[in-house]
Amino acid sequence: MNEMTPPKTERAEALKGLGSSRKRVEDARFTQGKGNYVDDLKLPGMLFGDFVRSPYAHARVKSINADKAKALPGVVAVLTAADLAPLNLHWMPTLAGDKQMVLADGKVLFQGQEVAFVVAEDRYIAADAVELVEVEYEELPVVVDPFKAQADDAPVLREDLEGKMEGAHGARRHHNHIFTWEQGDKDATESVLGSADVVAEEMIYYHRTHPCPLETCGCVASMDKVNGKLTVHGTFQAPHAVRTVASLISGIAEHNIRIISPDIGGGFGNKVGVYPGYICSIVASIVTGVPVKWIEDRMENLMATAFARDYWMQGKISATKDGKITGLWCHTTADHGAFDACADPSKFPAGFMNICTGSYDIPTAYLAVDGVYTNKAPGGVAYRCSFRVTEAAYFIERMIEVLAIKLGMDAAELRAKNFIRKDQFPYQSALGWEYDSGDYHTAWEKALKAVDYDGLRKEQAERVEAFKRGETRKLLGIGLTHFTEIVGAGPVKNCDILGLGMFDSCEIRIHPTGSAIARLGTISQGQGHATTFAQILASEIGLPADDITIEEGDTDTAPYGLGTYGSRSTPVAGAATAMAGRKIRAKAQMIAAYLLEVHDDDVEWDVDRFVVKGAPERFKTMKEIAFASYNQAIPGVEPGLEAVSYYDPPNMTYPFGAYICVMEIDADTGEHEIRQFYALDDCGTRINPMIIEGQVHGGATEGYAIAMGQEIAYDDMGNVKTGTLMDFFLPTAWETPHYTTDHTVTPSPHHPIGAKGVGESPNVGSVPAFSNAVHDAFRAFGLVQSHMPHDQWRIWTVARDLGLHG
């Protein structure tokens, strides 16, 4: 019998568990065009909704006349704020403790704001009817600059808040001010800065951009008037939270609401928030008694649903003469647009911006963030990042470069000199976090060696000389970044959204023949959950990943969880999966011992089976145990093999990475070419290396777009100047650079399998790498700071202003 048992390694490989580059099970349907997205859903009698939107960024709505629209054949209803007011749904709560107009109530505050909702028999009629709704506006002065918005004589944007000097996050000191959030020790930091050898100061702007998922936001709301049940299929990154919030604001009992997130074509934070389209579709379905679909178009997506970033970060960093950092000070002006609709944990109005000390051992630090209203779209979502971690990483990685210039020091050396050392973990940061683990020096040295850093610097110096001699017009930039993220929100003790604790869950049922289904509180938007969570489970319970179905997104069947964003799926739901798997294994152990007629303690786990200690020829495989669990009467053990785990993480996880970008820049045309991009990620235990590589490619490409051209730009009138893909930069295969990926492994000490999450690292790490490369190319000619995005025009302008055009 023993000879027939394949060796451990062979059996482990057959499971396709942790570490296997198993192909994505989702791709069979996605690559054949067989995905099932919300717009694929067609319900009998379904109507279509479309918005009348404001062309003005700030105006009073004097009248709305929908008579002509209603007279158009096929139009069923036109909803305005006046129709929603009796239901108290003309305003809705935002995730940040503010409130937002569902439909314009007296005035509009940003271009593209929802003014009326037309419901018609098809989307073409709805679009025609939108043109027939006559809205009379009276223009008001527009403020798109968050600094001008705080002037004494700035127009009052939020008249609903006039006179209210207390907001959701403390005192407001101006009619367009939302909150001030302070972390760290202000006095101590100012005193350190005041007596430091060297202080570098700079304004770092991380411009407004947009997650722009390929699939825009949308939903199908369906109210069944017979059984009183509301079903909403939609592009929701957090279906359970949507259910609870929908119940709280509509008064419909939570068991009568079913939220279903089908396949989602990319989220990147854009699909975390609650939008007027969802509310209007639900109301329209309740009113008409038939399903109502709303799908936004690309322009609507870019100009109205959830932008990202828009942080003005004034920084000061101090150091000794030889480059030991002594203090960091940051004041951020956060442009939140017309309503504060950021999707951050409630106690963190600026997200985890206080991770801005980065990878460095900075003994004293202070951060203050002021949120400000402007006439721009609301949002402030975490675009492929964990709640403002991208802003924090960009800030510190730019400040390090600025300090290196001030010190006249090599930026790689300055970083290495200040990294938190391996023996300092767990590390308490000056701004309040406990970094769980890290080994920055090892990763950094590996990265520098991989790109031949010294060789590159030599080449760069030669290039500068050649440029000065007029032999070339191309400059060479070496963009360095060492980032530390904080992901996996989060411990319920300090992480909640609208009071909902940020735990997550997994429920497993083993079928009698030894296959399984596991359901989670998260929802994949392209991350490959059906592939990777099955792998975690395969290693825990010894059943092949191929025999495990993963299901998410239906609140009637999945256990409660807070969804997928902020790289929380693996750190939180992945941990729940492992813990639930361990509960299965514990019961399986009792069953195996019974079947083998030995004591529980006399069997031990061996990849896919329990064996009798000292007698490995005697074993029961998980398949055998699964069958017995259902079909054999075992004294004291109830039938079946199921488990559920709700996991409240003890801490966040802290993935990190070292990214290096080598860029050629043409001083005369502003064109750039990415010669090399090296990305080393340490995400702890690696579940599926192929998926990690895919995540890094995707995230770095988004980072490339953000750094090199992508933005949501406004003119002084509040017009969105980049509302289409003609103007909003999305890289295609033509522009996308080639990436080299690498890794180190520093497992998280508190996560059941040591995993840390990786989906967002490449967006967080690549933006400063690209941007630092641009800056570095011009360092020899005196450039200190130039704001993103570094499109061709802006780079050309930098060269011109430095006098390089001769």
């Binding site: 003005y56 322009m299 017009n719 969105v720 100047k721 289409t724 103007d727």
Partner: protein
């Protein structure tokens, strides 16, 4: 956005000024003008079909003329709405300088557009506006010169 240019028109200043105030001439010269109603000596209502990039929309608006410095100067201001396509507002200062038998027409026009037309056509707006202004004065010059030639 601002536009300025100079056109030489082979007609006396009084004639040019008169033409600038003639609704029939204006209607003929304004690109895409479908309707032009004179409400008073200084107030006009205009309906124009405008095409900027992919957006084509009918704009309705009111124009107010300022004739206080006639006949050396002439200015106008107006605003219009194109429904979901957006809105436009602006003005122009026209200076008429006698140059022998001819007239030099110098203009400075200022225009702001908002809404979908501004978003979709942002990269096209300046060039489109310049083209429209150029087209107006070209037609205007031809019309006035033709009429002038016919009557002299």
């Amino acid at each position: 956005m601002e536009m300025h240019d100079e056109v030489r028109i082979e007609a006396p200043r009084a004639r040019v000024y008169e033409a600038l105030n003639d609704p029939a001439v204006l209607k003929q010269c304004i690109p895409g003008c479908e309707e032009l109603i004179q409400h008073s000596d200084t107030e006009l209502e205009v309906k124009v079909v405008l095409k900027i990039g992919p957006v084509k929309a009918k704009f309705g608006g009111n124009v107010t003329l300022d004739k206080s410095d006639a006949p050396e100067r002439f200015s106008l201001a107006g605003e219009g709405s194109g429904g979901v396509a957006g809105f436009a507002k602006g003005g122009a200062d026209v200076e008429l300088v006698e140059d022998g038998d001819a007239t030099l027409l110098r203009y400075t026009a200022k225009a702001d557009v908002g809404g979908k037309i501004a978003q979709l056509g942002s990269r096209l707006i300046v060039s489109t506006a310049n083209r429209l202004a150029g087209q107006f004065f070209k037609t205007f010059k031809e019309t006035v010169e033709m009429e002038n030639a016919a009557t002299t």
